[in-house]
Symmetry: C2
Subunit: 207 residues, 2 copies
């Protein structure tokens, strides 16, 4: 279905999905490409082009059915896959990830948290067990989680990634402030990018 | 200097800045627009176009001076402003922000954390005092912080934002999973967007 989608289009899909979900929550069933484009701050022709990459969903003179479009984008994003996820690192970031209920709602089910600290091993975060990071490889080979969120200090990340790569993980969600080469997809959360954007907007107010 | 820059270009600048900083760390002094474009995964002509928005920095046949370009983008982003920042919410996300040393290095100096929990008020996070959220408005009017990171539960965010808006804050960095209208710039960190992108990349592997 989603062949040769430019990366820049793929990167906009989560925003479309999130925004359409908000509309659904507000009881909005139908939206014009113009209104959608205003809310998303891209041009209406961009919206049509983006969605045409996947076969096109709109109807001339009607606009988009919000529910159908939300479902379709969710499917393209693979959100119906019911991923099993693990979190490596029970520090502030790892805890924030483990505590956020929204991930489960979107099909990401966190099954275990790993840490090296003896005082944390055996405890629970949000009902999720904290396991010994020494057993990470074995756990992955037996439980076959799909996604690992890596929330360890940058210096510890390469060793963790090496274990994960060899254990059948499908993708890594990286919070470690450390870039690395990897044979599976890695998405890195660069929180400071949005802080820099805020700085830009403060420094360059719209006339 | 930075007039009428399209938002999409402005949003790429933090990535340029971050990547150029990595090059500097590796001792790289000069880069061609072609190499820069490969690393950034945008076309070389896009790179030239982007940087031309700000007056252009490259030299034909030489490429870009990494240090000069990094400095120039940092200035455009307003990173020389030495912002005073506060964090509202001493939960996992607030703590993660307060503990990350990288922000200070980039000119964002966190001066106080605010929370409502009596057992946290009076403590310190990374040497930063935790103050009573009841005094947030007064603190802002006397200390004039520039940026507030809002890391409170979504339901608590609107009241906090109302206090901040009336107190001279210049921008809000929002982690609250809650969207709101505001008279000052707001940048919201949507962590789940990158998780959805990871899901997309797992579901649609490159051929």
């Amino acid at each position: 279905m989603a062949k040769n989608v430019p990366e820049v289009v793929a990167r906009r899909l989560p925003r479309y999905y999130r925004y359409l979900g908000e509309l659904l929550g507000q009881g909005v069933n139908r939206i014009s490409s113009r209104t959608l484009s205003e809310k998303m701050r891209v041009t209406a022709s961009q919206i049509r082009q983006d969605l045409n990459c996947f076969g096109g969903f709109g109807q001339q003179g009607y606009g988009y059915n919000v529910y159908d479009l939300h479902e379709a984008i969710g499917e393209i994003l693979g959100l119906n896959n019911h991923y099993r996820m693990i979190v490596i690192g029970a520090g502030n970031v790892g805890r924030a990830v483990a505590n956020y209920a929204g991930f489960r709602r979107r099909g990401f089910n966190i099954e275990a948290v790993f840490d090296v600290k003896p005082e944390l091993i055996g405890s629970e975060i949000n009902g999720i067990p904290v396991l010994d990071a020494a057993n990470l490889g074995e756990y992955c080979r037996t439980h076959l989680p799909h996604i690992a969120a890596v929330a360890v200090p940058g210096a510890a990340a390469p060793d963790i990634v090496e274990v994960l790569e060899g254990s059948g993980i499908l993708g890594i969600w990286n919070f470690s402030h450390s870039d690395f080469e990897c044979s599976v997809p890695v998405e890195t959360v660069h929180m400071s990018d949005s802080l820099m954007t805020l700085s830009y907007r403060i420094t360059n107010p719209k006339k």
